[in-house]
């Protein structure tokens, strides 16, 4: 009787263990952002420019890459940020979600080390606080420098986003940061 019960247990185990398992590809974290595209459209016509901060395989394995931004002097561009998650199929346009949750997100543009570019006219959320999905970039004389773009996410409910918040505010956490990779090199030429 005892052996029968054990045998039954083992049988049950094997049946359960082997029946239901099919390898399915991992549904990668829908929160992953793999790519940030800065899309620049010159006012008054001209070719649309696109520059990427890209990590197609997500965190780990192959490190992200960042492109050089090349702009013409004394020109105005309307800028738009496109965010993608390439680890899912079809590719997810994450920036649409950010546009849907503007009160909890904010882009910061910081021009460093001599590049003559001003970023202004950032789009705002319903409370009038900047979001920065779109902006206007104005270039000056020929110069080279860096641009840091940071996307911050406010986890609190309600988000309590305020105009005065810095990119290092403890109210928000980092979703995207170019600081550790060295930032976008911006060449006005």
């Amino acid at each position: 009787m005892k052996t029968k019960r054990i045998a039954l247990g083992v049988l049950m185990a094997t049946v359960l263990m082997t029946s239901c398992k099919k390898d399915k590809p991992e549904e990668n974290d829908e929160e992953v952002i793999t790519t940030m595209i800065v899309k620049l459209t010159p006012t008054g016509g001209g070719a649309v420019l696109e520059y990427k901060f890209d990590d197609p395989d997500g965190p780990g394995a192959i490190a992200p890459t960042i492109q050089e931004i090349i702009l013409a002097p004394s020109k105005t561009y309307s800028a738009e940020i496109i965010l993608l998650n390439k680890t899912v199929s079809p590719v997810d346009t994450v920036s649409n979600e950010v546009a849907g949750e503007k009160e909890a997100h904010r882009f910061y543009y910081e021009v460093q080390a001599g590049a003559i570019v001003t970023v202004s006219n950032l789009d705002a959320d319903a409370n009038g606080v900047p979001v920065g999905l779109t902006s206007t970039w104005t270039t000056g004389a020929v110069s080279t420098g860096k641009m840091q773009i940071t996307l911050r996410h406010y986890p609190a409910v309600p988000p309590n986003k305020a105009v005065a918040d810095l990119a290092t505010s403890t109210k928000s956490g980092t979703d995207i940061s170019t600081v550790d990779i060295g930032g976008f090199t911006v060449k006005v030429q």
Binding site: M1, K21, D23, N28, G60, P155, V157, T170
Partner: protein
């Protein structure tokens, strides 16, 4: 077939007994042969009828409605050897029973002589008083009342026990006889056990751990429910508690019954509901730190002389909020958070039971069948169990309409254990067993550990010998574990790895009772633990600590040699006792996480420091000392001291995240029993936790972003009384934790980067028992 006959036969015995209209009563009196103390709680068992009683406070028992004939009485008591007595009944009869060889209970260390095999080695049991005082708290919080046990926490909602500096997969948690299998490797994965199930919480190290596995490097935690009723009748118990700090309320109820006509059948139904709102530190309330727990269990048993079986099912479901100010995007964020003295106001001040992201949702199901057969004097146990653990972690997400978990892990475990206990001969008794376990783990969402199948086969043999003042015990166990992992990446790449580990464990224990006052104990245990899947194959960002964790597929099992020695002393008047445990746990190939500051992992969210699993040699040594003095009969002073030194011996450095040394002093005043009030006491505890000064040298890589917090001192208060109301005795207790509302942080709480610990917490608890015996 035999079993069916036994069951049929068993079903007929009570029927026959009733039809004969037997009316002889057998009364008796059980006393300790040495001290002549009346023995309360002795189990008196009539082999022929299967009837069983427990002696009352005066050591009395009474069996009614017995028939003419010969009966074998078997009497056992927790602190004595069991006794057998054959009596012939033809009229009402009284018998006095003297129980030989009483072994004292020394402080927390209890030597238990059960009918089967004594549990020895180092053994610490949570006292009845502590068990009552911690009703409504988590399992780890209850266990941390034991000297030498501390907690690893993630905020106030998630806590797991730490034994002598080690935790997670180095501790085996045995829930009602079954090895608890979930995702216990994670630092923020608390044990999925309802503490209200436990009648006893015991921590052991020694030969008995070999029954459960060869991998108990730190020790084994036994969560033991009360045995099912052994007297026909029914009983119920209702427990409730309320905590002021987080407005937490707990309700737990249990109902059990043994039928009159079918006394072999017993059952129990038990359930717990617990809900807490956001917790407050002395300075501010932390948003999203609520919790909720819903648990229930059913036990049914059938007990006869030659066969008994028990079926148990339990379900545990919890939802645990995680402070949302601890959401960290990258290392810079973590450093900014550490730099501020308190969290941003947007994460503070909300008084609600509502739980939002980030939170965890965990369910655990356990089904178990245990049967015992007696063949002659041989005893056989068959234990079959199935467990299903489903863990979902909900991170902070971009879109508020997203209801999916980001980490979703399911693990299904089946296990089969058989053991054989031959009869005791020439002071020898032993147990041998075989065990098998099959596991299936799967994940969806974010990758942290792969899908895998694991198969474990093991066998053990334990032999115990005792004579006069000596007890010697030895045991050996072997396990083989194979793990087949598979991961199909989003881009179609498959990563499949197979592993096979053999682990050997052995243990030797000796006890010498030098006199009635002194007891000495020496234990040497060798354990070996195969690397867990997370240590082999984890690969991803750990958001709580802003690190990128990477496993290593070349890890070998870690092997420990643990030597411990205990000295107990208690004077004859029982007004002074002293207990010392010295231990040294030497672990070869100790698996730990080594930071690689030279190789940060760059992601689109910024850089994360890389932490890799690797192996070293470690030595964890220390002592637990406790003493209690009763200068007056109603006044007791207990002092507990616990020290630990944890070294990474290969690089002559300290190990990270080890509990700080601590000293606790408690003064208890017990009131004399009055007419309506009994077991009344008030107790005041001073707890001093020192600063952990022994942390890894920064020159070997920055391991921590913030040094250990300062030492802290807490004042706690407890009072309790049992009030007699008619036939029931209602116990009412009041506890105040952190009476002075001290702001402090604990080194073993990950939230120390962000917030203080909980402030003053006043609790009120009420226990209403009810018992009815059929006549």
């Amino acid at each position: 077939m035999k079993l069916i006959i036994v069951i049929l036969f068993a079903l007929f015995i009570p029927a026959l007994a009733i039809s004969q209209k037997c009316s002889i009563s057998l009364s008796g009196h059980v006393v300790d042969a040495d001290t002549k103390d009346k023995l309360h709680g002795a189990v008196v068992f009539i082999k022929e009828t299967g009837q069983q009683l427990i002696t009352d406070e005066k050591g009395n028992f009474l069996f009614k409605e017995l028939c003419d004939g010969n009966y074998t009485l078997q009497i056992s008591h927790i602190s004595c050897d069991s006794v057998e007595k054959i009596i012939t009944l033809f009229k009402n009869y009284h018998v006095d029973i003297f129980m030989p060889h009483a072994r004292r209970t020394l402080g927390d260390v209890v030597v238990e002589a059960q009918i089967g095999i004594a549990n020895t080695g180092f053994k610490k049991e949570l006292s009845r008083k502590d068990l009552e005082e911690t009703k409504g708290l988590s399992l780890a919080e209850a266990l941390s009342k034991i000297n030498g046990i501390t907690m690893l926490q993630t905020g106030s909602t998630i806590s797991k026990p730490v034994i002598h500096g080690l935790h997670s997969s180095r501790i085996l948690t045995i829930n009602n006889g079954v090895r608890q299998e979930g995702q216990q490797w994670g630092n923020e994965h608390a044990p999925e056990i309802d503490p209200f199930i436990a009648d006893k919480l015991i921590v052991i190290k020694g030969v008995d751990e070999l029954k459960y596995g060869s991998d108990a490097i730190a020790g084994v935690i036994l969560v033991e429910p009360k045995p099912l009723r052994s007297i026909p009748g029914y009983s119920a118990e209702f427990n409730t508690a309320y905590f002021t700090n987080n407005r937490q309320y707990v309700m737990s109820a249990v109902w059990e019954q043994q039928l009159k006509k079918l006394s072999a059948f017993r059952y129990r139904i038990q359930g717990t509901f617990k809900k807490g709102a956001n917790a407050a530190t002395p300075g501010y309330r932390l948003n999203n730190t609520g919790s909720e727990e819903k648990n229930f269990s059913i036990t049914a048993g059938w007990k006869k002389e030659k066969f008994n079986t028990e079926l148990f099912y339990s379900q545990f479901a919890t939802r645990l909020g995680i402070f949302n100010g601890s959401h960290i995007g990258n290392l810079t964020d973590l450093q900014n958070a550490i730099g501020s003295s308190k969290p941003d106001d947007v994460f503070l001040g909300e008084m609600t039971y509502k739980i939002r992201r980030p939170f965890q949702e965990v369910t655990h199901h356990l089904i178990k069948s245990k049967s015992t057969f007696y063949k002659g004097e041989h005893k056989f146990n068959v234990l079959l169990s199935g467990q299903f653990n489903h863990r979902k972690e909900f991170d902070v997400v971009r879109s508020s309409s997203n209801t999916r978990p980001q980490l979703d892990l399911s693990i299904f475990t089946l296990s089969q254990d058989i053991s054989w206990e031959p009869p005791k001969r020439n002071n020898f008794n032993g147990v041998a067993g075989l065990s098998m376990m099959q596991q299936d783990n799967s994940y969806s969402g974010r990758y942290f550990i792969p899908n895998y199948f694991a198969y474990t086969f093991g066998g053990y043999f334990i032999e115990k010998w005792n004579k006069h003042k000596w007890e010697l015990q030895a045991g050996i166990r072997f396990d083989n574990k194979s793990i087949n992992t598979s991961r199909l990446k989003f881009n179609g790449d498959t990563l499949n790895y197979d592993f096979n580990f053999s682990t050997l464990a052995s243990s030797f224990n000796t006890i010498y009772k030098a006199s009635d006052k002194w007891r000495l104990n020496l234990n040497i245990s060798m354990a070996s633990r195969a690397p867990y899947v997370n240590e082999l194959l984890s690969d991803g960002i750990h958001h709580g600590t802003a690190t990128y964790e990477k496993g290593d597929i070349s890890l070998k099992p870690e092997k420990s040699v643990n030597i411990s020695t205990g000295i107990n002393f208690e004077n004859t008047a029982k007004t002074f006792n002293f207990d010392l445990l010295l231990y040294a746990n030497s672990i070869r190939d100790f698996i730990y996480q080594q930071p690689r500051p030279e190789n940060p992992v760059l992601t689109i969210a910024g850089a994360f420091p890389l932490i890799e699993y690797q192996q070293t040699d470690a030595l964890l040594s220390g002592f637990d000392a406790s003493a209690s003095v009763k200068p007056l009969s109603n006044f007791e002073w207990e002092s507990k001291l616990s020290f630990l030194y944890a070294r990474n011996t290969s690089i002559k450095d300290w190990l990270i995240l080890m509990p700080a040394n601590r000293l606790s002093n408690e003064i208890t005043y017990s009131f004399k029993d009055a007419k309506k009030f009994s077991d009344s006491y008030v107790a005041v505890e001073f707890l001093n936790v020192m600063q952990q000064k022994n942390t890894p040298d920064e020159r070997n890589g920055k391991q921590d972003y913030k040094g250990p917090p300062d030492a802290y001192h807490l004042l706690n208060f407890n009072a309790s009384s049992a009030v007699s109301m008619g036939k029931t005795k209602i116990t009412i207790g009041i506890g105040i934790r952190n009476v002075l509302n001290t702001a402090y942080r604990d080194y073993l709480n990950t939230m120390r980067y962000f917030t203080d610990e909980m402030g003053r917490n006043i609790s009120i608890r009420v226990k209403v028992p009810f018992n009815y015996v059929y006549h």
